[in-house]
């Protein structure tokens, strides 16, 4: 049997490919691209929410938000580590991010304009991420699947926190309720767009499904998300901004208006409201921190040298 046959048989048996295993180059590349994009999304995703850390309206909310943004940094770290098992370094990946050669989730190119947006991101954006990611816990590549299990556990915690923020607002003062509704109005369609273009236009789906990296199509996942949200919006007492949203008894699912995919393409291309700010922020942090990283490296080298000298002397 060839290496390729072995690879195929592992996939067919629903078992895991591990870093030590042979894998086709295109499988490796697809995974690197996807995991990196996922890691970048965690890192860039710190910005829109972090924007409200300094202004969180209560100390409890400030603590929860700080912890959430910290979790995102943590997710970024272990996703980069998962990507590194595929033979690429974090430094290379970060370089590709700040040079715009790799993408991150387009949703983070929208601005957070109010505190309610922190809630909406938790509820809708993290909600969509979970729908996307739960199947990835069974992904064929072991390190990615295991990272996803951990990420999903924390994400569902974040999603509940976001829901709770909106719930409090929606049951608060009229101004708070308006803030919550405004936020849902702005985040609904961008969240639907997070599942990517419709299946008819999706480039990578078939191969990824065959490799069991992907388990459901974009449209299947989007539908699942819509059905989930309708119920929760009802509990919140907020309206999803789609007049054509309704239960379809035949399909046993909700009919809904598709997001503006042309807008999605524009945002992916770089023309969202915040693309430049997000990348500029990352670049600035990277550049401003260079002297610190250099210092840490220089100190570590000196320490190693000193230890070497001590050994020689001993």
């Amino acid at each position: 049997a060839t290496l390729h046959d072995y690879f195929t048989s592992v996939i067919a048996a629903d078992q895991k490919i591990e870093p030590r295993d042979w894998m086709p180059d295109s499988y490796r590349k697809t995974l690197i691209r996807q995991i990196a994009q996922h890691a970048h999304s965690e890192i860039i995703g710190m910005q829109p929410e972090g924007n409200w850390i300094s202004r969180a309206p209560s100390l409890k909310r400030k603590a929860i938000l700080l912890a959430k943004v910290q979790d995102e940094a943590g997710h970024g770290l272990y996703l980069y580590a998962a990507a590194e098992t595929l033979g690429i370094s974090r430094d290379e990946l970060v370089e590709m991010l700040i040079e715009g050669r790799q993408k991150y989730s387009s949703i983070f190119n929208y601005p957070t304009l109010s505190w309610a947006d922190v809630g909406a991101i938790g509820w809708l954006v993290d909600g969509a991420a979970i729908v996307n990611q739960v199947p990835l816990c069974r992904c064929s590549y072991g390190p990615y699947a295991r990272a996803m299990i951990r990420v999903c556990k924390e994400e569902s915690f974040h999603q509940r926190q976001g829901f709770e923020i909106l719930h409090v607002l929606a049951h608060g003062t009229p101004a708070q309720k308006a803030m919550a509704q405004d936020s849902v109005d702005r985040w609904w369609y961008p969240s639907l767009a997070m599942f990517g273009p419709p299946d008819t236009d999706s480039a990578h789906t078939a191969q990824s499904m065959a490799w069991k990296i992907k388990r459901f199509s974009n449209d299947e996942l989007r539908q699942r998300f819509v059905d989930m949200c309708v119920q929760q919006a009802d509990v919140l007492g907020l309206t999803l901004p789609d007049p054509d949203l309704r239960w379809n008894d035949d399909r046993q699912a909700h009919d809904y208006t598709q997001p503006d995919y042309a807008e999605l393409m524009r945002v992916i291309k770089g023309e969202g409201p915040c693309n430049r700010d997000r990348i500029a922020h990352r670049r600035r942090a990277h550049a401003d921190g260079a002297w610190v990283r250099d210092a840490a490296a220089a100190y570590a080298a000196k320490q190693a040298e000193r230890q070497e000298e001590r050994k020689v002397a001993a």
Binding site: I43, M46, Q47, G50, I53, S54, R55, A56, P57, S58, L59, K60, R61, K62, A63, L66, A67, V69, Q70, A73, G74, G76, L77, Y80, W115, I165, V168, L169, G172, T173, A175, Q176, H281, R282, R284, A285, D288, G289, A290, W291, V292, R293, D294, A295, A296, A297, A298, Y299, K302
Partner: protein, 241 residues
Amino acid sequence: MKPTVDHVLAIADDALITAQRLGEWYAAAPEMEEDVALANIALDQLGAARLLLTYAGELEGAGRDEDALAFLRDDREFRNCLLVELPDADFAVTIVKLLFLSAWQLPLYAALAEGDDERLAAIGAKARKESAYHLDHSSQWTIRLGDGTEESHRRVQAAVDELWPYAHELFAADPAAPVDPAGLRDAWLSTVEGVLAEATLRRPADGWGPAGGRTGVHTEHLSYLLAEMQVLHRAHPGATW
């Protein structure tokens, strides 16, 4: 004897303003690991601040909870030392501020943990462990920066020189305080001098010691920090979040 509200607020506000400044670093630290670490420390400081503010509110007995105290006082009513409100001009400043503060918080919380007041003792017992981590973290970075490159040495020495005068305020004698700050100076000096020496940094001469924070006379920086921190809470009087 119960501690006074102002004495508890002083410790609480140090922690709160520190958390607020550290929170400004989100997604901007030199390394991703440091994003995690700084958020961790901010969370610890915020946690201590919340317990202390709650206690201060109870001692005051006017019905103010942690949020009323955090969001509805103006800068003249804040009791934090000036050190913590200074802007974090670069990572070296952040680290040295944290070094100076945590080398003070650690013996303070330790003393509170052994003190008569049960509430402060409980808070001190929890917070001293966290302070030990903050001190370790900031010490390690001070050493790395001081003994790193020429550039990092220059920057961290500049931060030490700039911030040293502000440390004096921490030790102003106050025999009525739950722990007299004057008694913490020896422990602080021995800790900090040790770190500076290992970091190949010069210990500045003592001299000018700006003060006023404990009586509400702050730098021009604090009111900007509070304007941002309090804006949303104040825009919705009486709302819950």
